[in-house]
Symmetry: C2
Subunit: 355 residues, 2 copies
């Protein structure tokens, strides 16, 4: 019984009838009086279509406001020309990465889609794996994993990790020179005469966090300063956690004269806590961060920090991923970008004269 009021039926009733469902190629074909495959060929500029037909079909497409369904096309083709970026949450670091990724995507013919675990990372370690298998090969041609919670992803397509998990051996990575960076940051503190230096560490499962702590320890050892482990507190790369840690660190007697935080977000938290406790920065406390996120330049005082080229990392990761997707053999599968110490006003010589 032809009782179903479906869009296609409407259209079959006569031209010009617009239903509320999305316009399909089928409808374009009927409306243009040609076959679906002809429409498909017109859309994809395949050979073997007369100019007149092409023009006519394009007219109908225009008139009906037709756009190809990404999903249907993806199911049919193995290629989708979409790159996915998987981030745990939208915060300053991942946002910078996203900007870099967007830079790299420009004029590449790819589109960019970001998936967020919504900050629920601790509850769902390994969420990337699930997302990856549901998307890869169908929705995206490849993916960039930002600070992933998993080591190896047995993915069905190219994957590049930014700031990878510890022990990632197989997947290509883009990362900053965390060891050198941390060393430089701590050396700076040492040169200013500080010896009682605290550290707020990052997410223990990330290579970057481990290397930053290692750099901290090495710089201290190099200067013949013994590490006081009670001054090394966990911050997990999260502002809240870092704030708590900073309270413990700064609220106690014999507090450090300087703090190295494994990320700017955490360094900013240290700054806040210092203000809260009436500890003047840099007069009574020097603080060095890591990342050089935009916010670090705007803090009071502006943060001395180890800059890593986050945006460039996003750009490189996507560029590398595209090479992989295109089947090229990239020269290097593990790219490490340099870090620089950015001197601002949150550090100062121990016992220095007031400015």
């Amino acid at each position: 019984m032809p009782g179903a009021p479906r869009g296609i039926d409407d259209l079959a009733a006569g031209p010009g009838v617009r239903s509320h469902r999305r316009v399909t190629m089928q409808q374009v074909a009927v409306e243009a009086g040609v076959s679906v495959s002809t429409v498909s060929k017109v859309i994809n500029s395949r050979y073997g279509i007369s100019a007149a037909t092409a023009a006519h079909v394009n007219g109908v497409i225009e008139r009906l406001g037709y756009e190809t369904s990404l999903v249907a096309r993806s199911l049919r083709n193995q290629r989708t020309n979409v790159i996915g970026v998987l981030v745990a949450d939208f915060e300053p670091f991942s946002t910078e990465v996203l900007k870099g990724a967007a830079d790299a995507i420009r004029d590449s013919g790819f589109e960019l889609v970001a998936y967020s675990a919504g900050g629920r990372v601790d509850e769902h370690v390994g969420w990337e794996r699930r997302y990856l298998s549901r998307l890869m090969g169908t929705l995206v041609d490849g993916a960039v994993l930002v600070t992933p919670t998993v080591t190896d992803v047995d993915s069905d397509g190219p994957v590049v990790a930014i700031d990878p998990h510890t022990g990632s051996t197989t997947i290509p990575t883009v990362t900053a020179d965390n060891l050198q960076g941390a060393r430089a940051g701590v050396r700076h503190l040492l040169q200013l005469g500080h010896t009682r230096i605290g550290m707020v560490t990052g997410r223990v499962d990330l290579v970057s966090a481990q290397l930053r702590e290692q750099g901290f320890r090495e710089a201290l050892a190099e200067a013949g300063v013994a590490v006081d482990d009670s001054l090394v507190v966990p911050g997990a790369f999260e502002a809240d956690v870092a704030r708590e840690a900073a309270r413990g660190l700064l609220g106690r007697p014999g507090r450090p004269t300087a703090v190295f935080a494994a990320s700017d977000q955490m360094a900013l938290a240290v700054l806040e806590v210092a203000a809260e406790l009436g500890i003047r920065v840099p007069h009574e406390l020097s603080v060095v961060g890591f990342d050089n996120i935009p916010e670090s330049a705007l803090s009071d005082p502006p943060l001395t920090t180890v800059q890593q080229p986050i945006r460039e990392m996003g750009r490189d990761a996507v560029a590398l991923l595209i090479e992989l997707i295109e089947g090229a053999e990239p020269a290097e599968l593990h790219r490490t970008l340099g870090t620089d110490l950015v001197l601002r006003r949150s550090t100062r010589a121990l016992g220095g004269t007031p400015s």
Copy 2:
């Protein structure tokens, strides 16, 4: 066969041998010795499956690491349980929105995907329309448009706009009380004794920008202060443009004693230019922003600004969208959230004594 950890390769014994492609339901079915439809029923917990079969199939799924293809499922079902957020670029405002959206998505059963035009908005006005028709009804069940470049979207599904384009009549919107907010900001300046007040305006095609300018003019009129149109300069909600505008505004003789910027990003740019020109803030220039993005609290001096609950706007937009998707009749289709003046240190009484 002992010691074969590659489930997929084992399975490839039959027809359709393709080693590295994703695991399909078909493969699970073969491996489990059942039909595809049975596997589908197990996955979707449909009735009519024996506990034994379910357990067995689940075991195979586990072993093979199978995950359903989002694309294939989307093509078949009308529902995808995915919500899309379309942003022009990843910057502080849209990122805050994204965070709010992520909040709202939690435990809703929906997933969140962000699409970015990659900052190429000016080149591609109306990009949302294209994305929308390619995604809606297939990839996403609904979408949130952040500061869209288009008025009406003849979309095939629910759409909610945050900070909409001028003249949007049909689509539901979530927005802040821009008029009141701007009035409050400018009144604050007037109360401090300023009368020569400049303004850096926003993207002219956005309702928010227009209302902020209107609020500026109304507050001035209300105080009996004539608007000097040469003091109203376009900033387009972009830091670069605002910087240029600020240079013109502050570099000239007879510069204003106060500036109201239609966004924090632009206010921050004004701060930078002031520093560049050696104009001390707030001593020689008061600055009021709009948004209260995180960065505004960290500037030097911290920015006095009109706060709009960006994150909440993201949350509300998604909540509203979900109602729409679920077929509910939302009580209100246009939600306006309150704004508050946040007093920090970038404003000061005209001719006030040094602190």
